[in-house]
């Protein structure tokens, strides 16, 4: 198995798709950093936004909207097309002949996961390190100061004085312990999510024979339908029963309420089960 992953990994990092998606994320991460750098040029240090609030994975980051719109397509690029390329070049039989079907298909999914993970993890980590090296942790946050209404409303979500509809930020204890570790934690979440979506798109490729551009559609449609479901739930429920179905809100530093991580884990498990079944189907498929 390790040989299969090694071979496919070296193939992946030389592919244009991987390079393009990695470059897009890197450009976004660096652009966010440069934006803050230029915004605070000549300003007093007290007016700077805190270093960890400038992290590119924050939903209030200046170009997050563009990145979020591009994300469903970027995760497909690293390795999902590889299976269709192998088919088009008729080399899949030779590769399978040198290893087992099991190693080939499982190796494809694992390599896809690594690709999806890497394209997010490295650029965002670079952004986080640069932000912490350049700026200070001056506690100038989006939440405001202790005892101000936004602090209770957004951050903690509870107070003896205010009855707020916000449920507070998830993993509050971690945030209060260290905003930096909180960012690192969310960086892992985003990277893992990206990796799992790459696995899913790789698994979708097993059902296709040509028109590989259509492989960009499943994740986009998944996000689109989740958005419709989210607006339906939002309209037809009170805020106590509302559950956020915008999956990106679960993996970035967002202040939206209604996040229930059990639902998110359920969604991830569904994606993984689908991917496993499609890989199993391909392994057991009679090629003759």
């Amino acid at each position: 198995m390790s040989n299969s992953i090694k071979m496919q990994f070296s193939l992946m990092i030389n592919k244009l798709g991987f390079k393009v998606s990695f470059s897009c994320v890197l450009v976004y991460a660096l652009l966010t950093y440069v934006y803050y750098l230029l915004s605070y040029r000549g300003a007093d240090v007290l007016y700077f936004l805190s270093a960890n609030q400038q992290y590119a994975g924050n939903e209030l980051a200046p170009y997050w909207g563009i990145f979020q719109s591009l994300f469903p397509f970027l995760v497909v690029f690293p390795f999902a097309f590889s299976y269709l390329d192998d088919k088009a070049l008729s080399i899949d039989h030779y590769i399978i002949g040198r290893m087992s079907r099991n190693h080939y298909y499982v190796g494809k999914l694992i390599t896809g996961f690594l690709g999806g993970f890497i394209i997010i993890f490295i650029p965002f980590l670079l952004n986080l390190i640069l932000c912490n090296l350049t700026f200070q942790e001056n506690n100038n946050t989006y939440f405001g100061e202790y005892n101000l209404i936004p602090y209770f409303e957004i951050l903690s979500g509870r107070s003896v004085l205010f009855n707020t509809e916000f449920t507070g930020v998830p993993f509050l204890d971690l945030y209060l312990h260290s905003p930096f570790l909180y960012n690192v934690f969310y960086l892992f979440l985003l990277s893992l999510f990206s990796g799992i979506l790459s696995i899913f798109s790789g698994a979708c490729a097993f059902f296709m024979k040509k028109h590989k551009i259509l492989l960009l559609l499943p994740i986009y449609l998944l996000f689109y339908l989740s958005g419709i479901l989210d607006s339906y739930i939002y309209i037809n429920n009170d805020w106590i029963n509302y559950v956020n179905y915008k999956w990106m809100d679960y993996v970035n530093i967002s202040f939206n309420f209604g996040r229930n991580y059990y639902y998110f884990i359920g969604f991830i498990v569904c994606l993984l089960v689908f991917s496993s079944i499609s890989a199993y189907r391909m392994i057991k498929k009679d090629v003759i």
């Binding site: 798709g17 563009i66 591009l70 397509f73 390329d85 028109h211 551009i213 960009l216 689109y224």
Partner: protein
């Protein structure tokens, strides 16, 4: 259309794909179909369903918004390999038979244009139906005028973006072609939404029209001359891309392709 022994065979599958826009559009605006009717203008409702708007001083301009880009993304993905696939998979077979590659490209572009027209028509008809079912007003001349202008601009915009994807795909593969154009559109939309902060545009709002993400809906319904200007601008862009594309196709070496590195 494929020519087989002097007869013209229509590939219905290609045309049927245009119907795929109906389910997601209805799903997205299901509320309008379920809930009661209100007294609002159908043309304005159609505009709001497709575009967002940005305010520059006292004027409000419609712009494309990311939330409502499904119709564009779907068309780009469905037909993003319309020309490039022929080139990559059947290039030698086709070009050893056709007399002029440029003519072949113009023919394919025209076919793409027809597909875009059909797709935009179905999309707008669905939006019109949804808007009508949520409004107490009836379709008037203004609604039809908006419908026709939107049909023309959306058709040309779909054709331009898909042609560019196909041309980029020849060199870098379908995925890269799509993402580069989608990214360019996202940047244009961001620029359109931030145009209020640009001093030059605040002074001369008509400059906004140069941004294709804004021009598609610039002053629609207000000034007929602007509408004609918008369509003319899009046509010019389209012709430019067609001519450049045809020259590029004519010089492209079919044997030089590296399918493995895409």
């Amino acid at each position: 259309m494929n020519r087989v022994r002097g007869m013209t065979m229509i590939n219905w599958r290609k045309w049927c794909k245009t119907l795929l826009i109906i389910p997601p559009t209805i799903l997205y605006y299901y509320e309008d179909l379920l809930f009661g009717k209100y007294d609002h203008n159908i043309a304005s409702t159609m505009m709001v369903k497709i575009f967002g708007y940005v305010s520059i001083g006292e004027t409000h301009e419609f712009v494309m918004i990311v939330e409502n880009l499904l119709y564009l993304v779907l068309f780009n993905l469905l037909y993003g390999n319309f020309i490039s696939e022929d080139f990559r998979q059947r290039g030698i077979y086709i070009f050893s038979r056709v007399k002029s590659r440029e003519k072949w490209f113009y023919k394919k572009s025209f076919e793409l244009y027809c597909l875009a027209f059909c797709y935009a028509f179905i999309f707008l008809l669905t939006i019109l139906f949804i808007s009508m079912s949520s409004s107490t007003q009836k379709v008037d001349v203004g609604t039809l005028e908006t419908f026709v202008i939107m049909l023309l601009t959306i058709t040309i915009f779909l054709t331009i973006s898909t042609l560019l994807i196909n041309l980029i795909s020849l060199k870098f593969g379908n995925g890269v072609g799509f993402v580069s154009i989608y990214l360019a559109i996202l940047i244009l939309i961001t620029l359109a939404l931030k145009s209020e902060n640009i001093a030059l545009i605040r002074e001369y709002p008509i400059l906004m029209m140069l941004n294709p993400a804004t021009a598609i809906s610039f002053n629609l319904g207000d000034h007929f001359s602007y509408q004609i200007l918008t369509v003319a601008y899009y046509l010019t862009l389209n012709i430019l891309i067609l001519v450049i594309g045809a020259r590029y196709i004519a010089k492209y070496d079919i044997s030089l392709k590296d399918a493995e590195s895409y």
